[in-house]
Amino acid sequence: MRKKWFFLFLIGTIFFVTGFSMKQDKLVLVTEAGFAPYEYYQEGEIVGVDIDIGREIAKELGMKLVIKDVAFDSIITEVKTGKSDIGAAGISYTEERAKEVDFTIDYMESRQVLIVKRNSVIESPNDLTNQKIAVQLGSVADTYLTEEYPNVQVIREKKFLAAIQDLKDNKVDGVVMDEVPAKELVTTDLIILEEALVTDHYGMIVQKGNPELLEKVNGVIQRLKEDGSIDEMLLNHLGVKEENTKMTFYDKFYYSVIYDGRYQYILEGLKNTLLIALGAVLIGVLLGGLAAIVQNVHDNTGKLYLLDKLAKLYVTVIRGTPSTLQLMIIYYVIFKALSVNIVLVGMLAFGINSGAYVAEIIRAGIQSVDRGQIEAGYALGLHYHQVTFKIVLPVALKNILPALGNEFITLVKETSIGAYIGIVELTKASDIIASRTYDYFFPLMIIALIYLAITLLLSKLIHRMEVKLNHARG
């Protein structure tokens, strides 16, 4: 019996590992696209100054450039763990960061400026006292403001677009950010103050202990700086902002969905959301089923002591920790050295997460079966497996299937945290679109409607299934 389980596990492992390939001849550049002109989405592709530089570096190294889009606060982890080769996202040098990764020479001067409403009383950084100022979490502006302006209330947003939105909505009195992208997104009601808070320098980052790569990257940056290529790149990427003042409802829809093929992000997101949810529910049923069966066999026969303990540990740990954390641990710790299809990682992580809940669903379903009917089965001389398959499971399934359907619905929504490791699922798709239109409202509403449509459809299917099951069993 024990051997059989082990083989199942082994086959599963092999199936997964063969799905991944070790990386080769690829230069993986990690960024957070949504910081025009350095990196942003255009016609379904990530472009920008950082990307142009990255392409030059890849050419120099004779490698193919692969671009990866993750959350800004994940970029250092990506490079540190070696999942990506270069980080380029308008990253300013700080000593703390330099402890984790190696910085290249700087390629861009960055002025951190203050953005305020046109009629604001703040006219220069000297006017800052105890106002509320929004920044992007972990950015230079964040560190600088926190240290130099202890009285200012720093509002840390995950994205600087959200910071700008806060300003527009009068939730904050100003935003501090890099001047170049700031110019890209200020609208008529906002102004950028002339005087910079601080001038900083952007560098790219590479994994520590790779002087060869660092030297080559430095060489390329030095060359591009000297021959004026970087200034040229900057010019190419400036002025791509779309005017978004006084847009009608239709205009907003047009810019959020149709213009520049933006529906593609939504379709891609929808595909990945559904794929991950489906894959995860299958893995979850497999793992959860195993965990439930192991525990049930142990409860009834006293066998499988160790596996039972293992199953209980699995359920406890998974149910006792946040799923975001599990996702990041699986991606950044377990699959650290492997270049893995990120959607597969998502499926696995959500599947492992779901399995713990499925195990409990199945156990509850089994426990809901009338003890008397099970005893009647034994009294008739049936064996454990006959009782399990002919009496317990058919009845338990009636309770389990609808609950599994609900688990699938939960999973569809849960996948939205996949953006943490750079999966383009629905929520990330709306982020991408918002990073171009500088308007959160429309893309968020659209994907909210899509989520709602999916869950409504699934609920209906589950309801039908329930009716059918009840009918079939008298």
Binding site: Q373, A376, G377, A379, G381, G474
Partner: protein
């Protein structure tokens, strides 16, 4: 045919059965009476090993079955009818009756169906073959449960309070069926609160109290000439009701 020697059963620290001895011959109809919690149901459940005895022997046709590995084979020979009927709710009447004999390869599906229909006809429930248990009355359910046990061609049938969960007007149809089976020579052990039924129906009666058999004898001995103080008290209480 069935011999029980010094049977004990503990649930944790609680001693429920404290050494029961009993000898049963083919065709015996044995009634067990006693106050609630005296261990009579537990005793019955030990006989087909739904509860594993703590110590003692149960010898069926010469073999001690307590530590027998082939638990399932033994249970086939010792049928059991439950208070709550315990029909498989997700199966039709016919499926309930034919499941075990076909799964255990005692009969082919055709043979089992044929036999099931014959028995159902006997209890006038042929037209309910395709009904689900929740469409039957309590009396009908219990008769189906008895037929389900009969299909196993067992040597002995244990009845654990077969009429306790029934409305009074349905008790008759179940006891009549039990009489019919008895007349065909089946060996039976019946735990019941239905004192009149036990009195008129059983050839031997056991009175249990606090985990032991206090008094044993013919129906007449027990009900007309009780000796033990506890039995006398028990019977007088019942008469008062």
């Amino acid at each position: 045919m069935l011999e029980v020697k010094k049977l004990t059963k503990n649930f944790g620290d609680k001693k429920v059965l404290k050494g029961i001895n009993l000898e049963i011959h083919k065709g015996d109809i044995i009634g067990i009476i006693g106050p609630s919690g005296c261990g009579k149901s537990t005793f019955l459940r030990c006989l087909n090993l739904l509860e594993k005895p703590t110590s003692g022997q149960i010898i069926l046709e010469g073999d001690d079955i307590v530590d027998n590995e082939k638990l399932e084979k033994i249970r086939r020979r010792v049928g059991m009818v439950f208070q709550q009927f315990n029909l498989f709710e997700n199966m039709t009447v016919l499926e309930n009756i034919t499941l075990a004999p076909t799964l255990l390869k005692m009969m082919t599906k055709e043979e089992a169906t044929k036999e099931a229909m014959r028995l159902l006809d006997k209890i006038n429930l042929k037209d309910k073959a395709d009904s689900y248990p929740n469409e039957l009355s309590g009396g009908q359910k219990q008769r189906v449960a008895i037929v389900r046990t009969l299909m196993m061609k067992c040597d002995i049938i244990l009845f654990d309070e077969p009429t306790s969960a029934l409305d009074p007007e349905m008790i008759g149809e179940v006891t009549n069926l039990m009489r019919q089976i008895a007349e065909e020579g089946m060996t039976m052990i019946i735990v019941s609160h239905e004192i009149n039924f036990i009195k008129n129906f059983c050839s031997r009666v056991l009175f249990m109290s606090d985990g032991v058999v206090v008094e044993e004898g013919s129906s007449e001995d027990i009900f007309e000439h009780p000796k033990d103080e506890r039995l006398i008290t028990f019977l007088s209480r019942i008469k008062n009701i």
